[in-house]
């Protein structure tokens, strides 16, 4: 019982320390608040389920990114009608504060949302300053493939953001 409590306690501590990462992943893979809450819950649940089998041989952050990104990538929304309402919610979520910085962030998210799910995971890890070796471990592709993919993704992002600026 005490062991279980300690297990929960250490899990909660680790999650509290890393909740910013989970929030960012949720923002990247959802387009409204309700979906974001659902994904957040799902990621936490999967992390809790996997935490029992987590061994400290691998880095905690690598494990966390693996579980969280795999959950986000395999999340499925069947109801396409939500897409219409989503944009309004999202806009409301960001536009409350009308600063240049937030405009930039909003544009970044719009651009990121145009990438496929795997590319989003790769660029997220790069934005989080992860080394190629760790990105390769999380995604499961070679380091050279990571490097090539990152060049392509950044070019694509540049062009998407340029188009968004022109709009």
């Amino acid at each position: 019982m005490n062991q279980q409590r300690g297990h929960k306690g250490s899990f909660i501590q680790l999650m509290e320390a890393n909740k910013g990462i989970i929030h960012k992943i949720c923002l990247m893979y959802t387009s409204n608040l309700a979906d974001k809450e659902d994904l957040y819950q799902e990621i936490c649940l999967q992390l809790w389920r996997s935490f029992r089998s987590y061994r400290s041989e691998s880095k905690f952050s690598t494990w966390l990114y693996q579980v969280a990104l795999n959950t986000a990538i395999s999340s499925v929304r069947k109801d396409r009608r939500q897409v219409e309402t989503v944009q309004l919610d999202q806009a409301e979520h960001f536009v409350v504060r009308d600063s240049e910085r937030e405009g930039m962030t909003q544009m970044l998210f719009k651009a990121l949302s145009k990438l496929n799910k795997v590319d989003r995971a790769i660029i997220l890890l790069w934005l989080e300053e992860k080394e190629y070796a760790e990105i390769s471990e999380v995604i499961g592709i070679s380091q050279s493939a990571v490097s090539v993919r990152l060049v392509r993704i950044r070019e694509r992002l540049k062009s998407i953001m340029k188009n968004l600026e022109d709009e």
């Binding site: 659902d38 819950q41 693996q66 795999n70 999340s75 795997v118």
Partner: protein, 241 residues
Amino acid sequence: MNDLKNGWANIDEFAGIPGIGITSVEKFKQGRSISIAGKVRGIFVRDFIFKSLAFLFIVLNLVLNRTDPDIRLINAILGVLWIIFTLLGIKFYREFKRSADPARSSRDNLSSLLTFLTRRFPYQAMIAATSYIITCLPGILLYIVAAFGHLQPLSTEKYIFYSFMGILGTVSGYILDIRAVRHHILHIKICLSDLNDNALALASQKIEMKRKMDHIITILVQVAILLAFVGILALFKSVLT
């Protein structure tokens, strides 16, 4: 590219979700599942609920109608089928848990999920579908005894109606599960092809190698299940009409 990183660094201050924080583990245990693994787990859970109900009905029938040899025989056969299907269900659930483990690279995670859903899930869907009829038959017997105090002969129309409802539940359950998973399979295939690293081709190759054998086993299992239920329905008819 510094712009991108600067934009990313600004997110923290308004990335939080109002009302959600990690204050307890229990809080997020009841979350609605949106991941493929979560949805497939839901199918397993639903099947285990049906199986528990079937177990309860079979046991109640055996207790309440212990003097009737025909009822004993039907429930004994259902009990044996229940044991076989439950053991198979547990075996597939264990395989699924291994396949759905998210603490691996995305490529491994998606490949193993695809392999499980393509090769193993059709059997699980069949097993889950049989749960309806295994629950339905002892349920009807129990209902008749509870309603009339003893076994009441059924008219041919009623017999056909009950059999039809049981078979309809079984077939539609199977079709719905397979259709739901087909949607997930498509999603996984898109993600694997997005990996652009021959991941989809390799996973498909692995699945294709075993597909022929899977196909023969699937047909054999379907025939065995069909024969078992035709036998039970015939027995059911001889008792109740």
